[in-house]
Amino acid sequence: MADTSFMPTLAIAVPRRSAFARGFAHFRYVMTSNPVTFFAFVLFALMTLIALFGPALVPHDPLATLADKALKPPGAGHWFGTDHLGRDVFSRVIVATRLDLLISVSAVAISFVCGATLGAFAGYWGGWFDRLSGRLLDTIMAFPLFVLAMGIVAAAGNTIQNIVIATAIINLPFYARVARAEVSIRRNAGYVQAARLSGNSEIRILLLKILPNTLPPMMVQLSLNMGWAILNAAGLSFIGLGVRPPTAEWGIMVAEGANYIVSGEWWLALFPGAALMLAVFIFNLLGDGLRDLVDPQRRT
């Protein structure tokens, strides 16, 4: 449509409010405009609570083995059944939430900070720094990312810390690219030129005028990538990297349960797998909701 500007421009008088009040109003608008996003946010809050307080609330010790109770199907005593060592699957799934979230949140936080900084500088100044960082990111992207993460963990040592680092490295290009693209389209925008004329230094322009405007798309990327980061970290522990038994972690629990699937003991793998899926699903829903808000044109 060429003639869409007939839409009446919003001209409501905006009373002067504190930044906090405005932020809260926006949050409320975000939550009420799309019930799915609201639902995802509630689940997210619940998941965070479980991660924080789960270990204190579970009915059984997640590590306690009871040989006589091995491989019991779900029932009143053990809601999710017990595993081959007689450990309570429910307790293990709940307790694992903290570790799984911790791994992915710290990995994503590292790659967000490093990637956004790298991308923002590359996008703003261009030149050799841009070429160098572009080369670096291209090299990371030239590997199938999960395979690269395997290689990094294999070489650096089989620890949880290295799982975090490997996941952070393979996520880095996504943030760096979004940041670079978002900064470089704004580098010569009218308001940035105007800020130059108003006497702002270049670094001030980048930090105070450009970066705040690139945050919404970055947040969307963050939320969408979070699910992917969880999947990758769980995948690594599924093949036996990082987390070691008997630690409760979803990926390794699915791996342990995999051997019992063919003989019909489904609950060992199903519940941790479903928990993993739910976590990823929540982040994807949140990301989709945020994206719709940032850019209603790109609803998918």
Partner: protein
């Protein structure tokens, strides 16, 4: 500029990428903390044997020198020896590669054949039931861990319904592998006219291929739908409609061909995902490809094998991306002329 020279130029552009890959795989093993020689020598090594191994591996030399040796070995196709099997890594990877390729390519074929029609239909009938289905598949697809999907499918289709064979490799025990031609058992079986073998191989292949396809379906369907919607809203489509062109022509020649471009670009990302997920699927289905080889090697810290695996996967990915670029060049005239 002709199409051929563009494709040639793309191949040239891949050279620095391959070089970067080689450098990274080299650094992964040499420049990281810990003593590779002690690693190679194993737990029961004496200081003398470690020194010996260090000299043998050239680890007592400077890093650039080591890199030169590494390059020289690579150019001869030498990826080192596996410490667990004692076999050359390159030979073992080559032996297992067809199994992985058969799985990956079948899965890609399945997911492209499902995702693109699904995405196109969802975009054309926006907000209809098929659009809702597409939305569901996309959201579920990106949330499902591959290894978990695989286990679910095994439980339902093998344990409960008995439709699928046991998830134990490429061929059940009743059949002997057909003569090696392509390395793809289904093809080889057909070529050798051993129908039962081909059918058995096909049945074994289906479940892991579907598992992998489900994972790559989501990004492809999502991109197809988005690209198609964008093309449908474009100004050139309005021109085509205003000129009274038939619906079929508007959709296929005007909208779909333009929507192909972002879809092809997404294929590169999908390859990356599917090569990674391949490893997990191979473990779940005991598929004797290079992924399960790598996992076995990881367990025993067999590190030449892991390095060889990472390198060969990366090279495979580069080749697949080259194929994507070539396809793009054929579809988009702008690339052909600008270079």
């Amino acid at each position: 500029m002709g199409q051929l020279s563009i494709i040639l130029a793309r191949c040239l552009q891949a050279i620095p990428t391959v070089f970067g890959i080689v450098v990274v795989t080299f650094l992964l093993t040499r420049a990281l903390p810990g003593d590779p020689a002690a690693y190679f020598a194993g737990a029961s090594a004496t200081p003398e044997s470690i020194t010996e191994i260090r000299a043998k591996l050239g680890l007592d030399q400077g890093l650039p020198r080591q890199f030169a040796t590494y390059l020289k070995d690579l150019s001869r196709g030498d990826l080192g020896q596996s410490i667990s099997t004692g076999q050359p890594v390159a030979a073992e990877l080559l032996k297992r590669l067809p199994a992985s390729l058969e799985l990956t390519l079948t899965a890609l074929f399945l997911s492209v054949m499902t995702a693109i029609p699904l995405g196109v239909l969802a975009a054309v009938h926006q907000d209809s039931w098929i659009d809702q289905l597409c939305r569901f598949v996309v959201t579920a697809g990106v949330s499902l861990p591959t290894f978990f999907t695989g286990l679910l499918l095994i439980y339902v289709l093998y344990f409960l319904l008995g439709l699928a064979p046991a998830p134990l490799g490429r061929l059940d025990l009743l059949h002997v592998p057909p003569p090696h031609v392509t390395g793809f058992l289904v093809f080889d079986g057909l070529l050798a006219r051993e129908w039962a073998t081909a059918w058995s191989a096909f049945k074994q292949l289906m479940l892991p291929a579907i598992t992998l396809a489900l994972f790559t379906l989501a990004p492809l369907a999502r991109m197809t739908r988005a690209a198609m919607l964008q093309a449908l809203a474009s100004e050139y489509l309005r021109t085509a409609r205003a000129a009274g062109l038939s619906r079929g022509r508007v959709l296929m020649v005007y909208a779909f061909r333009n929507a192909m471009l972002p879809i092809i670009t997404t294929l590169g990302m999908v390859f990356s995902f599917s090569l990674g997920a391949n490893v997990l699927v191979e473990k779940v289905f005991a598929w004797p490809g290079i992924g399960s080889y790598a996992i076995e090697a990881l367990v025993v810290s067999d590190y030449a094998a892991v390095q060889g695996f990472v390198l060969s996967m990366a090279i495979l990915f580069v080749l697949l991306n080259l194929a994507v670029d070539t396809l793009y060049t054929l579809v988009d005239p702008r690339v052909r002329i600008d270079g």
